[in-house]
């Protein structure tokens, strides 16, 4: 991907500090100093469906790699628009963690899915709020 070579130091500036209308409260609220409760944070992380997502990704990857190259095109043609977008999401997720043979077959899937979904399907992978 292209690297942003311009300086991004401006992002570290807190512009609201320089706002001329800012009202500075004399009495600071000292009671806000406690950090998050450790036990609560731990239990919340465990509840989050990360593990389910990883299992689903593993299954999908197995299915995709088990296809023969000649069958891929037909499989993609049988999908509807939403499914093509979903397939693209899984393909890119598979790219993120490459294993022995996965990249080669995923690239073939990518080529066929791109022919149907176009650049729009890739844009929807980038902008999706619900990741797979």
């Amino acid at each position: 991907m292209a690297k942003n070579t311009l300086s991004s130091r401006f992002r570290k500036v807190d512009i609201d500090e320089y706002d001329e209308n800012k009202f500075v409260d004399e009495q600071e609220e000292a009671a806000e100093q406690q950090g998050p409760d450790e036990a609560e944070v731990d239990s919340l992380i465990r509840q989050y469906p990360l593990r389910e997502q990883e299992r689903a990704q593993g299954i999908v990857l197995k299915v995709l790699t088990s296809f023969r190259s000649s069958e891929i095109e037909q499989a993609v043609k049988s999908l509807d628009k939403n499914s093509v977008d979903l397939l693209m999401k899984y393909i890119y997720k598979g790219f993120e963690k490459p294993s022995d043979n996965s990249s080669a077959i995923l690239l073939q899937w990518h080529e066929k899915a791109f022919a149907v979904g176009g650049l729009g399907s890739i844009v929807r992978v980038l902008t999706a709020r619900k990741t797979v």
Partner: protein
């Protein structure tokens, strides 16, 4: 279709005057330049409006009262009136602490709305007693920058597209300047700031939004390459199309059922809305590529292509479209949103193209503008 290249930098925004003889553009800096049509294909710069301290992000030219409103990243908006041969600015205090992003005059030109990065919309109206522009804020429930605005023909409802992935319709009824509005398909109770409609289902920033000519429909384009249309009713249904193109940046209705949108793919495209089936379909590409002499590729070029890009297709190094960079804004030139005959696009290549709907329809066999 005619293309004119104003400058080498992107045109940030543009606005036309009433008889379409003058165009105001921001050449990617703090100024606004007004060009006048000088017969044929020539444009002459006649005014330079210099008052902003930051890039001008929005320009709108009121056709009847001949006033220009501009807004910029310096958190200000100015209303310009033509006195003699000079445009004089009047500052409008928007009371925002982030950049202003878009501005639109209302249909009756007694109010204008400014969308900003402060997560609110400023509705400004002129107070006669103090000879001053006053503004009221609409804040809830906007959660991010407001990127685009469009007014309903009844002068009260305002559609806003924002970076929190939603399109919303608000009421901007101000009792000091107007009568109570009559009920619309979007609702009947319209106090100031009332949320009449909020969309769901799209995942990208809403770049552009447009009411139809009658005001009964609203269309928007978002950054996840979708086009969506909603028809106001008790249970509003949103129809959307996930397109195969790059994200679109501008959209406008040209009839009650047809939309023209353009964006990062550098050419405008037609979309057709069917209310009965609740679908939006792609109607066709609206660019007429120049017929280049198709010279065959030499064997050497083929090998080079194969080596560099692993493809043996004809080299498409240059864009075939009229615009050579993304189109950022579409505006109606002739006609109105219910029956448009000409529209204009400006883009990041510094060029402006005027498109004739009749010519496009006749040159493209499958194009159906209903």
């Amino acid at each position: 279709m005619s293309y004119y290249n104003f400058l080498l930098e992107p045109i940030s925004c543009h606005a036309w005057n009433k008889d379409r003889t003058q165009i105001a553009i921001c050449p990617n800096n703090h100024e606004v330049h007004i060009y006048k049509k000088e017969g044929g294909d020539k444009w002459l710069k006649i005014h330079e409006l210099k008052e902003h301290n930051g890039q001008v992000t929005g320009i709108d030219w009121a056709p009847e009262s001949n006033r220009i409103v501009t807004c910029g990243t310096d958190r200000n908006a100015y209303v310009w009136t033509l006195k003699g041969n000079v445009w004089r600015p009047t500052l409008v205090l928007l009371r925002i602490n982030r950049a202003a992003r878009c501005v639109k005059w209302s249909p009756k030109e007694n109010k204008f709305a400014v969308g900003s990065g402060s997560r609110l919309i400023s509705i400004c109206y002129f107070e006669q007693e103090n000879d001053w522009w006053v503004c009221k804020h609409i804040k809830k429930p906007i959660r991010s920058t407001v990127l685009s605005l469009d007014w309903h023909p009844n002068n009260v409802l305002l559609a806003a597209g924002s970076c929190d992935f939603k399109c919303r319709i608000f009421s901007t009824y101000i009792k000091e300047v107007e009568e109570k509005p009559s009920p619309t398909p979007w609702g009947s109770k319209m106090p100031f700031g009332e949320l009449m409609f909020e969309s769901s289902g799209t995942d990208g920033w809403v770049h552009s939004i447009c009411f139809s000519g009658s005001g009964g429909r609203v269309a928007w384009v978002s950054h996840d390459s979708t086009v969506a249309v909603a028809t106001g009713s008790k249970n509003t249904v949103i129809s959307s199309l996930r397109s195969e193109t790059l994200p679109l940046l501008g959209i406008t209705f040209i009839t009650e059922n047809s939309l023209v949108a353009a964006g990062h793919d550098c050419y405008p495209m037609l979309y057709v809305y069917d209310e009965g089936k609740s679908t939006v379909t792609f109607g066709g590409k609206l660019d007429i590529p120049k017929q280049n002499a198709q010279r065959g590729m030499t064997a050497r070029e083929r090998f080079q292509n194969l080596d560099k890009k692993a493809s043996s297709e004809t080299d498409k190094a240059t864009l075939e479209s009229v615009h050579k960079n993304s189109i950022s804004q579409i505006s109606i030139l002739e006609g109105d949103k219910s029956k448009c005959s000409k529209f204009c696009t400006t883009g990041m290549d510094g060029g402006m193209t005027i498109w004739d709907v009749k010519t496009l329809a006749s040159s493209m066999k499958d194009l159906k503008i209903i």
